[in-house]
Amino acid sequence: MKITYREALREGLKESLKTFQNSFLIGEDVGAYGGTYAVSKDLLNELGSDKIIDAPLSENGFTGLGIGAAMGGMKPIVEIMTVNFIFLALDQIINSAALIKFMSGNKLSVPVVFRMTTGGGRQLAAQHSNSFEGWLAHIPGLKILTPSCIEDARYMLVYAMKENNPIIIMEHALLFNQSGEYRENISDFNLYKANIVKEGSDLTLITYGGMLPRCLKACEEMQKKGKSVELIDLRSLRPLDSETIFASLKKTHRVLIVDEGWKSGSLSAEISARIMESSFYDLDAPVMRLCRKEIPIPYARNLENFIIPQCEDIVLKLEEMLK
């Protein structure tokens, strides 16, 4: 079945709200407005106001409410409209949601899912183009998922709902209009396993989220030039599936990581450091990183494109590494 990423998210959301009796969606403009990115369009009518709750502009407040409701036996889906507003809710997420299970001596749990749009590339300027999914993967007690294909958009939330601890799902703004297939019946869905999108033998290209389509395109370009690049979509940024990475580079001996986050302290650094620690002797050349330049995102398209890695930048880097 061919649908858009947006539709797939909506299907997954609808299924989650219908299947899990005590679930509800809370967030700004998820109801009457239909969701800023139209993911929850019509759901207020279809499912009713017990399931779809329009919140006031109170990110800290309704995030805390979600955490409390989760401790109280419900299964909330909290939508932070975009990752850019997460700072207003971050105390609740980091100092409560992520800690309470451990800190309570394993007696409480906080089964909440946070959903939010992330990423740059739409000329929304510095305050609305953040890419913090990799950065947030620093926090123990959280899981971070980045659906980048239609199937993940369709199922990640549904499977996340079955877990008993806080999970953040980051939906990339650039992907909403992508379309593709997904399987209707899946038995082997694993939230935390990286996906080898394309097999290859010369170099391992690692990415996640919004950068996936341009990485795939870059691999195809390289194929035309006779270079075989293996492409890994991480899918889960925490936990991070190092095993798949290590196995791939045992084959290719070269790694490039493409990360939309600002370079210093991005997830790409962690991946490189892990390879250093575990697979140093498998490397034929140093692991390289292609990331957002360390500059806030400007509005002007030419400037934004300069800062965020584009397909051509990836190709250039791959050529450099494979020449």
Binding site: E28, D29, G31, A32, Y33, G34, T36, D54, A55, P56, L57, S58, E59, N60, G61, N84, F85, L88, R122, Q123, L124, A125, A126, Q127, H128, K293, E294, I295, P296, P298, Y299, A300, R301, N302, L303, F306, I307
Partner: protein, 318 residues
Amino acid sequence: MDHETSMLLLKNMLRVRTMEELCAELYTQEKIRGFLHLYIGEEAVAAGVISLLSENDNVLGTYREHAHALLKGVSAKEIFAEMLGKIDGCSKGRGGSMHLYSASHRFFGGTAIVASGIPQAVGLAFAAKRLNENRQTVCFFGEGAMAEGAFHESMNMASLWKIPMLFCCENNFYAMGTALSRSQSQTDLVLKAKSYVMEADVVDGMNVFEVVEKTKKALEYIKTEKRPYFLEFKTYRFRAHSMFDPDLYRDKSEVEKWKEKDPINFLKLEISKTLNPEVFYKEFEELSNEIRREMTEAVEFAESSKLEEFSDLEKEVL
């Protein structure tokens, strides 16, 4: 109000309206991109309030701030260039529609995180007070912002520390698709403000005379009492929240009812009552032409302005 003042207000409101309509066009032409929030319907608020301010005063707005920037003195050229992402924009094309800045006009943004400008405005007013500068500080925000913790903390600090400044709530009854009554337990926003022990008043934001009158009173209070003041302007946006908004959450009839109160039509009617209709018609024609010229030139300027090169980006981060 004398004729000249009224005509100036009318002119400024029309400048805003014309600019905003051009923005919508440019957006359709894909020359403006990203988010675009128009002020059409709310012009009397910015025009009335800012007519009472000088160059020296501080103004802070939201992402719906084109009007405020323009009326605070930023040229239409710089504004359009900004929205087209060009180097001659007031933020060098880096900010776009939501981030107009002009240090020389003391216009401090243009912020796209709801309510985040409010505590900063408190800080600007605090600095003016501490540095003994003779300037007012005026902060605009929507009624939706009042649910944010930042609003609460700011109101408390401003009142507690007697920081002279004007809080201007542009209550257009919706925060994106969420009606005020669906998001706040206390919909009488003046009562909300008073709970911080702050003077407050409500204003018909479609009537620029009332805007001017009540703002004047507020600014005088702030100057003499050296304390903050809160004004709620009841107004309405005639367009959708942003160019992305399908506007499904309110009745067309509600919008139409508010359009009957169009602040520009209202003012035109009021002025026309005071003089010979033909004289007014002529004056108005001239005004419109002048504004059209200003805005067309501004757009031309913007279109011919250059894109920023990459060389300064990194070094201007810090």
